[in-house]
Symmetry: D2
């Protein structure tokens, strides 16, 4: 298979990581080889790829990063190597969600020692806490964590929504930087923005990339967009267009993001299709290995790989128009 190269849409150089936690912060996939070990050179290429695309931060060990599926040794290795490669060019965020609070805290300690900027924590996802229990859980963590943190709303996987009262309480937690919302429920997102308007600087990032421009229109702060692993400058382009008030351009680029979603994430029939699609597309571009952690384990087989390759070519043929404008 020949490697497919995408044009770089993004010619303006972003300022080095300011720690503002605004903009595009890709949820980095964890490149794994067939043994389930970290593909180290792949990780390096991937990080350079997205930094070249102008992203404003990196989020590792989140859902797209298959964090909860990785053994703790692997998670620690991923943290240490990522910090080493990034070298402070942009902020690094690390997912520490676990069902055992003490394991979350232990990983946060390791992250702090490795030079991570902030951690990200979703509700524990085996037992479903009631809202008052969830608030107590976050309050305890807020005291115990060695780093600033984002809350992470991901009800499809954790079974629990971070409710309005929990968001309100998080405003008075000094180290709470904001909320990452992956619910796909933009009404929830907008109500969160309304609540957080009381605390300037509290960031609300959107998960589903299909809603990036809309979330920004509503006043959001940026996107943790899975597709930015593959086409970082496209997502950065939407963010920058909205920052400049160029809504027309933002809408045009956002339509390309929908194409990415429809073409790369709908191959295969399971929930794992999104992460598999992203990893496979990165592999097609010669960036990294694309094996999955258990329980998914297998990467796409030949038929699906072929389909991803084709869709990738189609997507790249749609991008130059965008690139032309960006240039």
């Amino acid at each position: 298979m020949s490697i497919i190269s995408a044009p770089d849409l993004h010619l303006k150089t972003s300022a080095p990581g300011t720690g503002s936690y605004r903009g595009i912060i890709p949820p980095l996939v964890t490149p794994l080889n067939s043994e389930g070990a970290l593909d180290r050179s792949g990780l390096e290429k991937l990080i350079e790829h997205v930094l070249n695309g102008g992203v404003h931060g990196l989020f590792i060990l989140g859902t797209t990063g298959e964090g909860p599926s990785l053994g703790y040794d692997l998670r620690r290795e991923m943290i240490a190597r990522t910090c080493g490669i990034v070298g402070g060019r942009v902020p690094v965020l690390v997912g520490i969600t676990d069902t055992a609070e003490s394991e979350s805290l232990r990983l946060a300690e390791h992250a702090a020692e490795s030079g991570v900027d902030a951690v990200v924590i979703a509700p524990p996802y085996y037992f479903a806490p009631a809202q008052t229990e969830l608030i107590g859980y976050f309050e305890h963590l807020a005291e115990a964590l060695p780093l600033p943190f984002f809350l992470y709303n991901m009800p499809a996987l954790t079974k629990v929504v971070i409710g309005e009262e929990a968001i309100r309480r998080s405003l008075s937690m000094e180290r709470c930087l904001g909320l990452k919302d992956s619910s796909g429920d933009l009404v929830y997102y907008k109500k969160a923005l309304r609540i957080a308007s009381e605390k300037p600087g509290y960031r609300i990032l959107i998960g589903p990339e299909e809603l990036l421009a809309e979330s920004l229109l509503a006043g959001g702060d940026g996107g943790v967009s899975g597709g930015a692993n593959v086409f970082p400058s496209l997502y950065v382009g939407v963010f920058e267009a909205m920052e400049c008030g160029d809504f027309t351009e933002a809408v045009r680029l956002q339509k390309l993001i929908l194409e990415v979603s429809c073409r790369l994430y709908g191959v295969g029939q399971y929930g794992s299709a999104i992460i598999r699609g992203i990893k496979c597309a990165l592999h097609c571009q010669g960036i990294c290995e694309d094996f999955m952690a258990p329980p998914y384990r297998e990467r796409f087989r030949t038929a699906e790989r072929k389909r991803i390759e084709e869709e990738l070519r189609t997507l790249i043929s749609m991008l130059p128009q965008a690139a032309a404008v960006a240039a």
Copy 2:
């Protein structure tokens, strides 16, 4: 608070652990003190309490045992101490469910070294695998695990049902002992029994104690009954009555189990009420500490404790009739 003592309903001594995995196998709570550490003497008392009640095995680090909420050091301590206290009198089963397969395997290794008889594994509970992915996951585990194992169906918490095909496949996994079903869906349970009828010795245990007698009537092998932490001989009584074909007695005792459920598990308003209720009742009986692991953390406060105390007295006043017969 004075200690409330329950009469021992069970006068016949059970045979020592035969490893048959039939009968009442309580999902042991994990006694925790206010620091979140293991209440070691409480654990000892608890184990003696349930063994005195005639139970046929112990299941630790399951849902009732708050397994996924405990740090790995604590889980390892719980395994080692339980094995030490039990000393081979009954089989010990250990929950090793985790979202990271490698952590499940590592814990299973520790369990094997500690003398555990079997492990119990539910689907990984962050990502929801499709059925074919789930089957692949179990097949990989079946090769890698150092101990025989039960599958554990718990869709309310794992989001995934272990489907009929997965059960069918497990019949040909040599080390698979059977299925523990906590779905509360007795139609599913009976269909599982029908599938497993092809493999004599494959055990199907029921989680919800409210269905113990009915599951046995349908041909089931026993119960992993939370309430057997508190009143072990009551649950053993149902099992033995059904074994003897004394359906009338089984129904009579099963009605008392429904009383336990309605009276002890409905105090407080959250999903955590069941485990909190069991732990609080054990504390009222002077058996062990009753703090919860995060995210629940808090034990019942005064009002709820008082209510549990009253319900416990009521329950105990209902038991002598049963005891009389058992004697």
Copy 3:
């Protein structure tokens, strides 16, 4: 296609309808021809078929009867003809569930004029009322209905559980005869029995036939069993065995009911498979037409019909043993 005849397992003649609302009360399918009109002669044959099988009542226009899918003229025709054919031999119950209360009441009036014995009502199923709203709704109906009534718990289709407080309130509604529970949640069912134990004569019937014997063991009053359209005497056999305390026989027959469920309801891949399977089996037996009301409309096609025919033959070959005992 030649007609497949099943042996009649039931030789004892049941007493004529006593209005006791205990026993097997089949949820009659509504025989429809290819035009969507009532298959009148099929309805007659079907009713004689199930009455010959010894059933203790008939429930028309329920879920299995596709009640909510039928136009009101058709529902009225079904009521009038059924009452005419039954002629008081057993009680007739009619489903009047609707999203518009006034249409439920209008149908109940028609039912009362037609000689129906009781109506059956589930929560309105478009808007999901909160429990207090649901209780208010039932209280209003209890005043307005011209006939005694059963509540009908069917949360998979109505989105709302009839909660414990609503059951408790129904005990003091003079015309409320009891509860039909199709939740499949036997813990709920048993808690309902516990609540209703305060009111002797309050009946609790089980929907899912796979749980018939277990529900009776727990103290239930009978089953609204879809498969009793096809093999009425099998279901009556379970009921009578439990009435006589012959648990072994009940379990043996109940296993055959599970066979009916696994063999006839799992053909085809959709939720409509159960009703389609029952109707197709009746057609194979030469009893009635088997078209479906919209939105399902289509009956099984050739491949599925063939499969049903085969399964039906297998089932009938399993029945004689049962018949032998019954004789």
Copy 4:
């Protein structure tokens, strides 16, 4: 209680109903008096109120209109009177969703005779059809309906999503005007837009008003906004601002819509709170009666009414800024 008057934000007169089905098409509430009968003068005032606000059409007997809860006589009266009052000034759309197809068709006939412009139909909501069954259902309706129609996606109440294939098929149904999406899932909405881009003129309207501006940014055609019963010109203002490319103004007005949602729809604790809130606010403005159809029946009691009154005053105090700009 004195009547609260809202300023009219909308000074530009909209063109008379062009049948384009773009813009703001309020889902009209059904004004009911304490007997459950139509408040006829209230209906007249309500229609004049929203037409004065510049709305582009009316949708009656939808979810907000409590259509499925109303008896058929009342639904027919509502259709006839609405058409009479509107007199062709804007298009009138009528919800005909029912679980019985024949009743939907009968109501559609009545609608056609009354001069209605189009009907709106959601999946039947008792049985949940599979996608192929749903497509068959829509195809049959498309042949049989006497009027052009919109599909209506409302999975929270119908339990079924109108899937991508069903949307695709609807493009080739000549009389299908488009899709009304009330899922609240903007990713779905955008994918629907992408599919429908093949058929110019196919309209996609959004239900949840909190997403109105965002849906328009994505290329949507308008909103079926419940709050437009109360403040029609606010919603028309968002639509017109987006039409002119004045994104800043659209965002500003959209923020006020979020205020309407947070302040009027969150009073009371049940799902019925939205419709109750809208009706109560209309009553506070002296427009119409605010009783609810069963199962909700009750309107807000004193405490909630007071709260709505206060919130209404607050909202009106926020509007003049908007009005100033509009003027």
